[in-house]
Structures are given as C-alpha cells and as structure tokens.
C-alpha cells in the first residue's frame, strides 16, 4: 500500500473525517480509533485505502493508507523512514516524537490523514549530508544516549523544547523533556546536550 502514485476510489469520506479531527482534537480522536468497541458495526470499512499526501522533511509523499494509519506507522511502514520509533503506541514514552510545523507531536497518536497539508519533520530531516544538526551534535558530545532507541524522539523533543523557550534552566529542561522516557537513563547527559545546543538553535 506504500507510495501509490495513482489515485484510487476511496470508500472513506476524508472531508467528513477531517472535520472532526481538526486542531487540538487530534489526540483524543486517535485514541478512540485505537480502542474502538469491537462489537460496533462499521459504517464504512476503514481498511479501504484513502489517498493522502504527507509533506515529510520538505518532500510531498503520496500514499494510499488505511484510514486508521498513524503518522508513525505511515513513516515507518509506508515511507521507510524508520528513525521515529514505536515504544508504546500510546503517547506515553515519546520515542515517536516528530515536529508537525513547530510543534512536537507524538506521531503514534496522530492520524496520518490529520497531518495532511502540514510540514512533518522527522529525525531523518535534520542533518545535511556533511553536518549534524546542533542538537544531534550535542547529543553525540554529551553521550546523551546509550541504546539509542529513544534518541530520535528525544532530539525532536529537545529542538522544540528550546524553541518553546523551555531550555533556560536545568529545571526547565528536565520538566519539559519529561515526556520522553529514556530507559537507559541518560537524563543528566540529555540535559547537558540541550544546554549545549540551545544557543545555536536560538540563533537559528
């Protein structure tokens, strides 16, 4: 179902769907979709593919997806961008964090359809061919990871943390980086990395 370029008849009314999914309602909607009552009759079969164009790291990607596909699964299973990680699929661990616009978002709780038309930035979109993003470099310099599985999410979250103005003090960084679990517990090094990169990022 990946990278379909041809348009396909859709059994799903995306306009109606999107109407309920606008703005801040994204998260609860996705959570319901994941835990729908198994006995409820299906008005329309969500497994029928829906066309969607996602703008990821500056490139438009046309996809034909099950309407319930999350941004995370669209990235990982359909666009082969596996940098964003699945650690809980419940928005509890932050390993799947991406930027949508300037906001950090848990991509496991965001439906792909709801992200259409917005700029999605993933870990793969940060470095240029010869240079790491300052936050990536700061994570290397401060050994801010061990197994590395939470790292893409930590880095995306850290960039937003700085841009939000939440990297002024160690206490602020700790608080605003607490949506991203690191089971290896590299936390002190993550704080150091965010502090190192913050001035560069604020300079733009």
């Amino acid at each position: 179902m990946s990278d379909q370029s041809s348009s396909r008849p859709s059994g799903f009314d995306r306009r109606a769907f999107m109407a309920g999914a606008a703005g801040s309602a994204l998260v609860p909607l996705a959570a319901r979709a994941g835990t729908q009552d198994a006995r409820a009759p299906l008005a329309q079969d969500p497994a029928l593919p829906v066309d969607v164009t996602l703008r990821v790291n500056g490139q438009d990607k046309r996809l034909s997806l099950d309407a319930r596909t999350t941004v995370l699964d669209a990235l990982r299973e359909h666009l082969k961008l596996t940098g964003s990680k699945k650690g809980c699929d419940h928005g509890q661990c932050g390993a799947c964090t991406v930027l949508i616009g300037d906001r950090r978002v848990v991509s496991c709780l965001t439906l792909a359809l709801a992200a259409e038309g917005q700029e999605i930035t993933t870990i793969e979109g940060l470095a240029t061919s010869d240079r790491l993003h300052p936050m990536q470099q700061a994570f290397v310099d401060n050994d801010a990871f061990q197994c590395g599985y939470c790292t893409p999410g930590q880095i995306m979250s850290a960039i937003a943390c700085v841009k939000e103005g939440h990297a002024g003090t160690d206490a602020d960084i700790r608080e605003y980086m607490s949506g991203n679990i690191c089971r290896c517990a590299a936390y002190p090094n993550i704080v150091a990395a965010v502090k190192q990169a913050a001035p560069d990022i604020m300079k733009g």
């Binding site: 596996t82 419940h90 990871f145």
Partner: protein, 763 residues
C-alpha cells in the same frame, strides 16, 4: 572534554565518542522492526484474559470478516513446534510454557492466537474481534496466595548449586553480643526496554532470517532451529542495534518460533510488533522476593554470624531463581554463615534475568540490615563496612582477585560530604524537607565466557572486526573498535566493527556483564595473531617476543624503552614481505577455568560463563559504594533523591565515557527500584495491573537530580586479558538500600519493603 567524557586515570582507555553515535542521532541505526522487508504481512497477538484454566473455544467469525485478514492461528491450527528447553537445563528458552499447543492456560497474558493480516491496522482490529470462551480456575498470584507451593531451590534448579554455609551459625548467633533479625521485601519489576518485543521473520527457500532485538543471537538462532526442527545453519538472526535489553532479551521467548512457523506456512515475510502491555507477559521479569536476615556482631562491630534466607516467586512450569546468597554470604568477613533459598510456584509467566538479577534484591536486604546493625552499634555505617572488609571471601576462604570496596567508600564519602552528616535520625532538615544521608555497598561478579572473533587488516590500515556481539547500549561497538585500534596500532577511524549477526563468529550472551571482557579478549587475541603473522613475514628468523607483543603497534613508532629494543613493524613492508593485500585471522578465546566443552557450546549457542565465586582458587567481583541524599517533605511525605554519588572500581575501564554513562544509568535504575518501580499484581486474577508506561513508573528527566560517577583506578591481572570487570550491572545494586537507609536517617522510620511511596511514610 565535558562531564560526559571523564579524564582517564591510570589503567583507563580513552573516552572517545561512541562508534555508533552518528547512526543513533540521525535515525540511521536500524533496530529489529526497522529492517526493510519485502511485502510483509503483519501479525498481532491475542493473549489470555485468564491466568489459569482452559480455552473452551474460539469464535473467529467477526475477526475473519475484517478486510485484509490472511490467517488466524490458534492451538487448533498452529505450526507444530518442538519443545523448548529452559536455558538452565541446557536449552535456550526463558520459559518452557509453550503457547498455542493445547487449550491449557498457564498464566495471564499467554499468547492464545496470532492474527495475520495485510496491514497492522487490520491485524489489530481482527485481534480485537477474536472471541474466546474460557473455563477459568482461581489462580495463585504470588506469595501468600492459596495454592502456591514452596520448596528449596537446591535440587530443582540446576544452576542453583549450593546454599552457602560455613562455621556454626546457630551457636554464634545465639552467643552474639548484638543481634539483628529483619525481613525485607522487593517487588515484581519489568525491564521495559524502550524497543518493543518485536520479531520479523523472512524465509528465503529453506533459509530463515530473523530480525529481533536479542541479547544472544547465537542462542536465538539455535533455539529457533531446534523448535522448528531444522539445521541451525539455516537460521540467521540479525540485530545490529538493540533498543535496550536489561536481561529481557537474553533467552528465547516462545514468540519467535511461532512467528517463524507461521511465516513458513504462509510463505510470506511476517512482522510482529507486540504492544507494550503484551511485553509484560510474553517475555520475562524480575520476580518479587522476600528475605530474612539475621546478623550477630560483637560490640566492636565485627560480624560473628550471618544468615540470609530468601524466597522467590516463579511459574508452575519452571524453577527459575536468582539465588543472591552466593554474593551476600561472601561480601563481608564472617566466620559463621548460613543461608537458604526457596522458590514459590504461582500461576505466573516464568521470571528471568533483570539487570543484576541476584544482587538487586539480595543486597537490598543485606545492605539495609548492615545499616540497621550500625544503628544498633551506634557506629558509622561506613566504619561498620570497614571493620568487616576482607581480602578473602568467608565461605571457601578464596582471595578476591582485587577488591577496592573501602577505597570506593572513601572516595564517594568525600565527594558526597558524608562527614557533614549528623548521625541522629531527623536531625537534618531544610524548611519543610527532612534530609537524610544514606549509603550502601555494591558489588557484581566479574564474569567471562568463550568468544570468537575475526579480524581483517588491509595494508592501508583499514581494519574490519567481526563478532556476533550485541550493542544494547553498553558501547560494545566502541570498546571493540578501541581494542582493535590499540592492539594493531591503527587509527580508530580506520576500524569498522560488525556485530549483532549470527553469521559472524560467535560471542556469548550479552548478560552477566561479561561482554566487554569476553569479546575484547577475543579481539585482542586475534589481533595478536595478525601481528604475529606480519612479524614472521618481515623477520622470519626472529620471534615476536612477549614484551614486543605488549608494546609494539603495527606501523607505529614504539614509545616505551622496552619497545625500542624491538623493531617496530612498517605495515607496508610487512605486507610486501607477506605478498598479500589483506591479512585475515579468526580465533577462539576462552577464559581460564572454562569447561572442556566451551567452544562446542559456544557454537551451539550456550554461553559457558565463568567467574564470580565459581572460579577455582579465587573470587572476582567489581565493587562500588553509593551515597544518596533524600528529602522527605514533612507534610506531603513526597520523597526526592536529589543527589546520587557512586564510586566504582572495575579493573580496566575501557572507555571512561561509556562506563560513566552506564554507571550513571545504573544509579538512576537503583533510585527507581527504591522509589518508583513495581508491577502491581491483582491477587484475584493474577494479572499485572499497571502494564503500561503511564502506570508502571520509570524515572523521567524531572525525577533525576544530581548524579555523580567516580571511576577509581584499579588493576587486576587475574581475571582476563583485558583486565576489565563488567560494570553494566554494578551501579544499580545497593542504591535501593542506600535510599532506605537515607529515609531512616531523614525520618527515623525504617522501611523494609520496596518501593517506598509517599503513603508508606509515617512522619
């Protein structure tokens, strides 16, 4: 240099950045479920809602109607698999409970069906539509549940060989001037590595490739082959990166052979990404334990009697236990020692290793009791440890190969400011916060296992190291690259390391903190084979002396006086003399005392770990001392641990940066085991209640304050060629006791049951 990269002291390597750092910060590091697959089908597990009983039947009509469903596998149509033997009985598995084999249910959350569909979404929906009818029997959940059975570990667990004893405990305790008897409890914990317990299986003809986070690719390869009834050479396990292990991926779980069997039948690659909550029951965990400690001492603080009785929960099927008395009976000088470990069987999944399996619960008990004894003796707890420090373990009288316990206490005490502590409980405060200082010892056995390696050197210095080790966050790539670079005298950036693939030369399980010592010893040996070969080519009539072996790098001017008497090897000339463009060597290393069948076992996925207390005429442990400050709010009873300080001595420190990070993470794990982590079990249903990251509390960034790691110089020539002691499981031991000791100091309340939550404080 920054805090992450401590200046190396004597007998330490360079704090170079991680070999895999760039891959990990760019998302290029590929974990199991990241591997590209051609047209995979997606599997979703259905797990049992009851803990004991049987399945009457399934209603699959609804599930089958979901668009995209390919197959639904239950006990009625599951691929036939051979039995999996437990790792401790010569097998590979972490459990002998084999799902999908019959209608029987052995524990809550056992796999009872696998749905395979064209998409993840369809598989998930269909799994939710599987209807199951059960006949449930009231389960036994844990200690004290009706229907559990209790028996001594000795005799039912092949790896638990002895209840250590020496002297006459009963008499000595009876006559002791000062006595302490206390009981301690530790909770169930789940590893919860960040990467889920995924498995992808791809068949190419008769050959199977498995992408799965594993801490033992050779074990998994051989174990799955055995269950499928195929030649192990037909199975390849690939996992260049593992998203955390902590013991959870050391032994085979049932899911792998099941998915492989289904993929073979459907002739289609299958990808399984289980949910976080399923991970609580389809893999292993740290079982809850109970302890009774009896200490007898003379008034001057010398231990005269020590008894440690431990009880651990396991499944009905398997007699798993960690048996930490092997360590706690040997830590301090004491002439009269007794111990007993028992296993309590309940309707649970089989537990398994979790970071420092024996030491975390058993040292919580001993190091809490030592603090209680210090209070009884009106003695500084550090001094109590000093009085009972020893060069020889008391059970067999064997000498420790090196033991820097008190040096660690002294260094950590100094850095922490222990001398500023006023000894009386409740005597230190800051506004609404009661302040407590506490400390405890930590130790972990030094273990090694046979390992092979292949090293290839080109004339331009480019080097390739191949070894089926595991990068679980420990820095395996990095220290292997450093070892080859140092041994061959080639620049670090010219060394490429390939690990995490069972087609590479075998390495042991990444468990028991043996990996660095084992894999790097093998790499050193094979590098020396290359040096020998090149040296012989240049100087056929001379032999590379042992001294030169130690000092002469290839293509590198000798720096020491000893080396100057030997001629350095010019790499270009050596290759010219050899008439080759590449030298490649393979070798197999085994530690002293490894059993005769070691290499055979190594190739068939059985790691023969030696070390710790099991060495013939010596005992090898790494040591540390940990100091914590806790703050307890006198009104809300909120507990915080703003300062953790640990000093550690672990032989050669291969890379101070990766070592510090592991020890720092360990200290935070230790804090977590004292204050946060516990899997709650519903007594009626034997069900894990808090099986997700919102309810199973692990530390987040805001939970962690100051963490200071002090690396001590220590040289130990009696353990392995690298001189390194494993330290990945050193720092999270004892921290739980240090925190409870600090809570006692802050509040006057002794807490003997973990975790400590604010509702347990009665100030």
């Amino acid at each position: 240099m920054n805090a992450a990269a401590p200046e190396p002291k004597a007998n330490m390597g360079q704090p170079v950045p991680r070999y895999d750092a760039a891959a990990k910060v760019t998302g290029r590091a590929t974990y199991g479920s990241d591997m590209p697959m051609d047209n995979p089908a997606y599997a979703f597990l259905v797990t049992s809602a009851i803990a004991r009983g049987r399945i009457n039947g399934f209603d699959l009509d609804d599930a089958r109607r979901v668009r995209g469903v390919i197959d639904i596998v239950t006990y009625e149509n599951a691929p036939k698999l051979k039995e999996a033997k437990l790792f401790s009985n010569g097998g590979y598995a972490g459990t002998t409970i084999q799902p999908l084999k019959s209608t029987d249910i052995a524990h809550e959350g056992e796999i009872i069906a696998v749905v395979v569909a064209e998409s993840y979404e369809a598989a998930r929906e269909a799994a939710n539509r599987v209807k199951v009818s059960y006949t449930a029997v009231a389960p036994s959940a844990s200690f004290d549940s009706p229907g559990t059975t209790k028996a001594a570990a000795k005799g039912q667990n092949a790896q638990f060989k002895e209840d250590p004893q020496v002297g006459d405990f009963a008499k000595a305790f009876d006559e002791a001037e000062v006595k302490l008897t206390a009981s301690y409890d530790t909770p169930t914990q789940h590893h919860n590595p960040m990467e889920l317990f995924s498995t992808s299986c791809v068949w190419m003809g008769d050959d199977l490739v498995i992408y799965e986070p594993s801490q033992y690719v050779y074990g998994l390869k051989n174990g799955v082959a055995e269950q499928l009834g195929i030649d192990a050479d037909k199975v390849r396990v690939v996992n260049p990166y593992v998203g955390g292990g902590f013991g959870s991926r050391g032994s085979m779980t049932p899911r792998t052979a099941i998915i492989a069997g289904i993929a073979r039948r459907l002739n289609r690659p299958i990808k399984l990404v289980p949910t976080r909550d399923q991970g609580f029951t389809i893999a292993t965990y740290r079982a809850e334990t109970r302890h009774e400690i009896k200490l007898g001492a003379s008034r001057d603080g010398r231990l005269v009697a020590l008894r440690h009785e431990g009880a651990e929960v396991s499944s009905r099927a398997d007699a798993y236990c960690v048996g930490g008395t092997k360590t706690t009976t040997r830590l301090y000088a004491c002439p009269n020692v007794d111990s007993l470990v028992s296993i309590v069987r309940a309707d649970r999944n089989t537990p398994g290793f979790m970071r420092s399996p024996p030491e975390v619960p058993y040292l919580f008990a001993l190091e809490s009791a030592m603090d209680e004894l210090a209070v009884k003796l009106n003695m500084d707890p550090v001094e109590l440890r000093r009085i009972n420090d020893t060069t020889n373990e008391p059970i067999g009288g064997k000498p420790y190969t090196s033991r820097s316990l008190m040096a660690c206490f002294d260094e950590a005490a100094k850095a922490f400011g222990w001398s500023e502590r006023s000894a009386a409980p409740k005597s230190m405060s800051d506004g609404d916060w009661l302040i407590g200082y506490g400390c405890a010892a930590t130790c972990y056995p030094t273990q090694m296992a046979p390992s092979a390696a292949r090293v290839r050197l080109q004339r331009d210095g480019r080097t390739r190291v191949e070894i089926a080790g595991h990068e679980i966050g420990t820095g395996a790539y990095t220290v292997i690259a450093q070892t080859a670079s140092e041994r061959l005298g080639v620049p670090l950036e010219k060394v490429a390391v390939f690990i995490g693939d069972s087609d590479l030369p075998p390495a042991p399980v990444a468990g028991g903190s043996n990996s660095t010592a084992s894999t790097c010893s093998a790499v050193m040996m094979v590098c020396d084979q290359i040096r020998q070969k090149l040296f012989k080519a240049v100087m056929p009539n001379e032999s590379l002396t042992d001294k030169a072996k130690e000092t002469v790098g290839l293509g590198q001017a000798p720096t020491t006086q000893a080396a100057k008497s030997d001629r350095p090897l010019d790499l270009e000339k050596a290759f010219d003399a050899l008439g080759a463009g590449v030298v490649e060597e393979y070798g197999e290393w085994k530690p002293d005392g490894a059993p005769l069948d070691s290499f055979k076992a190594m190739h068939s996925g059985h790691a023969r770990l030696v070390g710790g207390h099991q060495m013939k005429d010596k005992i090898a442990y790494a040591f540390g001392a940990e100091f914590v400050e806790v703050r307890v709010n006198r009104f809300t009873h909120e507990i915080r641990a703003p300062r953790l300080v640990g000093a550690f001595a672990a032989g050669r420190i291969m890379n101070p940066r990766t070592a510090r990070s592991q020890l720092m993470g360990g200290l935070i794990w230790g804090m977590s085991s004292a204050l946060l982590e516990a899997t709650e079990i519903d007594e009626r249903t034997a069900r894990y209640v808090n099986d997700n990251f919102a309810d199973y509390l692990v530390p987040v960034n805001a939970d962690v304050g100051g963490v200071e790691v002090i690396l001590l110089s220590e040289q130990d020539d009696h353990i392995n060629p690298t001189g390194a002691k494993g330290l990945g499981e050193l720092a999270n031991v004892g921290t739980n006791a240090a925190i409870c000791n600090a809570i006692y100091h802050a509040t006057g309340q002794r807490i003997r049951k973990l975790p400590v939550r604010l509702e347990n404080i009665e100030v």
